[in-house]
């Protein structure tokens, strides 16, 4: 298929429909509106359902209903809406319902602003809702990945019977890049456990209740097992010039793109820098970080927040190497120049220290 110049947000919807998504329930919020609008336009024509819900609370519960009915279903929002969806996401995970949720992050807390941030990391990766559950979190850094990872999100959601997030910032949602879609659209049959209003599925029950402690513990252990499986099999990341790197930069989404520029810039000055870009934020590439720490002796994390993913980098490295953080927030993007000079300053300090 030929390339097409598309906004990241629109690529999500086309990618979703080609991946068999036939229901979208959402509520308007900037900077995710293009997703909802594209869904309103394309889904009904594709034989799917689009409905604008009265709130994100309703939207995520409609997602629950569609998932229980066996449809591939998604919603999209940004920080404030994701906060409202947290209850429903916990229920989806508890009832083992697959769905895809796109979070196009904006500035918080509170109303914050609509400019790009990465400050939903904690609530999405560590779970805004109650209970021992996890969501698989994919972090696209290009418009092509908005399409590709959305498709992957539907596959993982079905495979793990669990909500999967596509988490990115307003920049990736709003920007345009050429994107190429797969040739063959898919439409998998509804899962056999779903409830479809026919004799074949009459005995099916979708529920997150396990009244007896032993039953609930068993259920939670079953969920835990799935997450362990995902931790073993689903970690995805991109390495960029890390092979001979003494210094590793870590970032996701738009920040990873900026960091690539920083790598080039610092390499041109003779500094052996590389980039690790987590593509899955949960499961997190812990092992790869530890592997890199065998050679690299200093890690730099940059985020559009005051530091959220950096916690996971520190947890993964467990003291093997110092971890420095450079963040911008409020809707500001860190510039490549800013980050480069931050890294240079720290490297010089290190050199002075050891001299």
């Amino acid at each position: 298929m030929a390339k097409q110049l598309l906004k990241g947000n629109e690529a999500i919807v086309k990618g979703a429909i080609l991946a068999g998504c036939r229901a979208f329930y959402g509520y308007p919020i900037t900077p995710a509106n293009e997703i909802t609008e594209a869904a309103a336009w394309y889904l009904p024509q594709s034989g799917g359902v689009f409905l604008q819900a009265e709130s994100e609370v309703a939207a995520i519960n409609m997602v629950y209903g569609a998932a229980a009915s066996g449809q591939r279903v998604m919603t999209a929002s940004s920080g404030p809406g994701i906060s409202l969806m947290s209850e429903g996401i916990s229920y989806l995970a508890g009832a083992e319902l697959p769905c895809v949720i796109a979070d196009i992050m904006r500035g918080g807390p509170g109303l914050g602003n609509i400019a790009p941030e990465q400050s939903d990391y904690w609530q999405v990766v560590k779970n805004g809702g109650h209970g021992c559950y996890r969501t698989i979190v994919l972090a696209p850094a290009s418009v092509q990945e908005m399409a590709d990872l959305t498709r992957l999100a539907f596959e993982l959601a079905d495979q793990y019977r669990n909500p999967v997030f596509v988490l990115t910032d307003g920049v990736i949602g709003q920007m345009m890049e050429p994107v190429e879609f797969p040739d063959a659209p898919v439409l998998p049959p509804p899962p056999e456990w779903s409830v479809r209003g026919d004799a074949a599925t009459r005995k099916n029950l979708v529920s997150s209740i396990f009244l007896q402690p032993d039953e609930l513990e068993e259920h939670i252990r079953h969920l835990e097992f799935k997450y362990k499986l995902a931790e073993r099999n689903e970690v995805r990341f991109e390495r960029y010039r890390t092979d001979d790197a003494d210094y590793i930069l870590v970032g996701y989404g738009i920040v990873a793109r900026i960091l690539k520029h920083v790598v080039e810039d610092l390499r041109a000055r003779g500094i052996a820098v590389g980039l690790l870009r987590p593509i899955t934020l949960y499961p997190f590439p812990d092992e790869e970080l530890r592997r890199l720490a065998k050679r690299a002796h200093h890690f730099f994390v940059s985020e559009m927040s005051t530091g959220q993913m950096v916690d996971d980098v520190r947890l993964a490295l467990a003291g093997r190497a110092p971890v420095e953080f450079y963040g911008r927030c409020g809707g500001n993007l860190p510039t490549a120049e800013e980050i480069a000079s931050f890294v240079l300053r720290r490297i010089r300090e290190e050199v002075t220290l050891h001299a």
Binding site: L51, V57, E177, F181, P185, T201, L205, S207
Partner: protein, 478 residues
């Protein structure tokens, strides 16, 4: 014991043994004399009689009826507190031929789920809601509900519900009937056998409404909760009749069955082979263009007022760059900036893969107004190109290390017949000066983005005029 609606046989759609329960598989978990038990039987009878058991999907709420799925041998979905109407909406839309019954208590429906039921009813979703109003939160041990009667003592209104403090008991049936969306709403009572027989008819009518595809139906049951009310089953039933019915008048609250028609049958499934067309995916790869062997890296910032076509200018560059076989990116400023009147975008055209789409050090600036020039000129890389819509560069903005063109492009556009062509005139000027892209991809991009033939003609002229006004080799230092 009073004579409840006696069913000599268990309706088929109730399980014989309630195996989803952990113990006591022959009896329900409801207290003796509880209204839920009666409503379950009435509902089960109606489902069985109407022959819709296989098609039925029951939505269980949170409240004492949280375990409705223990009993009904139908498709079951258990949901979060208050959200039954939202879940039911999506279930029905996924399977329009199913019969979706959403079962809710008064705390569930009228308090925490008030938004969901209101909008579900207003949309006229073709589902049936069974609403059990017992004026109390049963499951959590007897707290006040929106439906609790004035003066009624509960654990959270220990001195009795007070109008000035807690407002008045909510009349859900009347409230929802005030909307145009619902088709059939009736309030019934479990206050005595005769009423129970009427309640039975109401359930049937509600389900028939759904089966005929005529829209939203709801039956509100005034229902005894002997345990929390601390009354024996007989007195509790009497209380429903003597006290609750005074505040909650029985009867049909709305019946628009005669006005409604069933929606058309759902369209047949869209063939997957139609999706590329529906999704407007391009079918043919443009012939790759190798117009330049030189490595190329344009980092362009376009800025101006909202409405000047700033974003479109940038998008044309990116579209054309893509057709020319380059790596491209386009990143708009978005949000409140747009509303306060300024607008800008970042465009990259690159012969190698693009790292960051963010242009913080542009090598080309297209400034459509003075504030934009002032904001961005200092960021332009030495040797970069600046095209400015203005007679001359303001003295305090001048830089001698840039190639700058300043012309009254807006006037030129005006003379072409539309000030709106300003962005395209400037595009022409930029292309002439920069040789960034050949003509054919610009033409194909224009054709893709400009839908009206009249505008396309104007834009072609604007492009040519822009090129003429800024001959390739001629630029001025401001």
């Amino acid at each position: 014991m009073p004579n409840y609606a006696i069913l000599h046989e268990k309706p088929e759609c109730l399980y014989e043994d309630y195996e989803r329960k952990s113990e006591l598989h022959r009896q329900t978990h409801y207290c003796p004399g509880c209204g839920h038990g009666i409503v379950h039987k009435l509902l089960a009878e109606a489902i069985t009689e109407l022959g819709i058991q296989d098609r039925t999907i029951l939505i269980s709420p949170v409240g004492c009826s949280v375990f409705a799925y223990y009993y009904f041998d139908v498709g079951n979905v258990q949901v979060a507190h208050g959200r039954a109407a939202a879940v039911a909406t999506a279930v029905k839309r996924a399977h329009p031929h199913s019969i979706v019954i959403s079962y809710q208590g008064d705390g569930d429906l009228a308090a925490i789920g008030s938004a969901e039921i209101l909008h579900c009813a207003n949309r006229g979703e073709n589902i049936t809601t069974i609403f059990v109003n017992n004026a109390i939160y049963g499951m959590t041990g007897g707290q006040m509900a929106p439906t609790t009667l004035l003066g009624q003592k509960t654990t959270t209104s220990p001195t009795g519900r007070d109008f000035h403090h807690d407002g008045a008991p909510m009349k859900v049936g009347e409230m929802l009937s005030a909307l145009d969306g619902p088709t059939y709403i009736e309030r019934v009572s479990l206050g005595n056998v005769k009423q129970i027989m009427l309640a039975r008819k109401a359930i049937r009518k509600a389900l028939e409404t759904q089966i005929a595809g005529l829209g939203f139906s709801l039956v509100e049951f005034l229902s005894p909760c002997p345990t929390i009310w601390k009354l024996d089953p007989v007195d509790a039933q009497k209380h429903v009749h003597d006290v609750m019915e005074k505040h909650y008048p029985l009867g049909v609250k709305c019946d628009r069955i005669a006005e409604r028609t069933a929606p058309p049958e759902p369209a047949p499934m869209t063939p997957l082979t139609d999706l590329p067309r529906i999704l407007r995916l391009p079918s043919t790869e443009p012939a790759p263009l190798h117009f330049s062997e030189e490595p190329l890296d344009w980092r362009i910032r376009v800025a101006g007022f909202g409405g000047q076509g700033v974003l479109l200018l940038g998008q044309l560059l990116a579209e054309a760059g893509m057709d020319a076989g380059l790596h491209v990116s386009w990143l708009p400023s978005y949000g409140p900036e747009m509303r306060s009147g300024t607008s800008n975008c970042h465009v990259r055209l690159c012969s190698s893969e693009i790292d960051s789409p963010v242009v913080s050090r542009p090598n080309a600036l297209l400034a459509l107004n003075e504030p934009s020039l002032r904001k961005f000129i200092a960021t332009v890389e030495p040797g970069g190109v600046v095209i400015y819509n203005g007679d001359s560069i303001p003295a305090d903005c001048s830089r001698h290390d840039l190639r700058i063109v300043a012309q009254p492009f807006a006037e030129i556009a005006d003379s072409l017949g539309s000030a709106k062509a300003l962005n395209i005139v400037m595009l022409g000027a930029f292309l002439s000066l920069s040789h960034a892209l050949p003509d054919s991809p610009i033409e194909s991009a224009l054709k893709r983005l400009v839908k009206s033939e009249r505008w396309l003609e104007l834009d072609r002229r604007a492009l040519a005029v822009g090129r003429e006004r800024v001959p390739a080799e001629e630029f001025v230092h401001a």
